[in-house]
Subunit: 219 residues, 2 copies
């Protein structure tokens, strides 16, 4: 399955600016991207980076400097086609395509496989992020398109219903954890074992369990 | 499978005090407990409430006013026995027992079934909560005991390793979402459909997607 991994080369991870400098944020974002690409590859997916500017990675890269929603919908237009075209030319079931965010540092091959599997049984299979975001999905319905503004998970569920696409949710904490805010760094140190976790440890971050939910501190 | 659901009748959900009055917190905590008991029951589990004081629910109730760690370990002592006793009297594999927190308002029968299934394949199967907590587990190893202080998920993984118990993690956002803080209320409104979600709506809470991750506002 082709797996699109959107990646912003322009001021990535700005909500981590209290914890990391701009250069550090770029390095950390790149480490997370590499972890996600590894997990997708190990799950049998064929990753393609959808970047806002050139980026030096092994998988193929599509550069599109438009906003996320427009760039992803351009991919869906190309891969899933319009509803009319599908009705005319195929049996109405295009090959599924996945979109997996580049900041899912907890993603494992097993979690990505569960996403793929759910996407074989439904027209749209989606892993919600904390706070109502859309962290990963597989779509095979020709008319499904995205809108990443606001509570996109609920909007996407509604869009699927509107176009008559069977929708299923993927219940995964690993896919549900997008790393945006300082509190999310603790999740990386607790659960991840890839480059992003190594980068944080190298940068001096450790877990602090002194009160309530575990947080990170930097030495 | 017997499923212990610890429930505090004493000042429940104090970290929600900015959002809810003491009476409201008690009502909301009870709604979440009922949702959890329903999900456990629908998943084929046999719930038993482990409460700090008397509580009027359908399932059997054990009252134990000790701290969570001590109360849960008393249950594990009784159900799993000591390592020596198990070696003497059984084949060393006691019947598994589950412990599921009462504030998992997003729990569904499917998520609880995944926990049960993981617990049949491993000595200890555990669903981590956000921030390194332990939201739910199944244990069948006679020597496994809990320690809920601090980053308990990592401690429990270590305890399992120390006693030679095969450990597996259950990757579930629904089981991973314990409702402790105001931001967690948004997850209930986005994903849950039971009594806790209805209670929040009745109390005037709605989703606010005006910035970043979705939050709740009260009308």
């Amino acid at each position: 399955m082709e797996v699109i991994v959107p990646f912003s080369t322009d001021r990535p991870k700005s909500r981590l600016s209290d914890a990391l400098s701009p250069e550090e944020r770029a390095e950390f974002a790149r480490a997370m991207l590499d972890d996600v690409l590894d997990a997708v590859d190990a799950a049998g997916g064929e990753p393609r980076v959808l970047a806002t500017d050139a980026v030096d990675v092994d998988p193929p890269v599509t550069v599109d400097d438009r906003a996320l929603t427009e760039a992803v919908n351009a991919v869906l237009d190309a891969r899933l086609g319009s509803e009319g075209a599908a009705d005319d030319e195929t049996d109405g079931s295009p090959e599924p395509v996945a979109v997996v965010m580049a900041d899912l540092a907890l993603a494992t091959p097993a979690a990505v496989e569960r996403l793929f599997e759910a996407g074989r049984d439904a027209d749209v299979a989606m892993a919600p992020g904390r706070g109502g975001g859309t962290n990963a999905f597989v779509a095979s319905h020709p008319a499904f398109r995205v809108d990443y503004h606001g509570a996109s998970y609920l909007d996407h569920r509604e869009i699927a219903a509107e176009v008559g696409a069977a929708f299923t949710a993927v219940d995964s904490q690993r896919l549900g954890t997008d790393v945006d805010e300082p509190a999310d760094l603790a999740e990386v140190l607790i659960h991840a074992e890839g480059r992003a976790a190594a980068w944080l440890r190298e940068a001096g971050f450790t877990l602090d369990a002194s009160e309530g939910r575990v947080a990170v501190v930097r030495e």
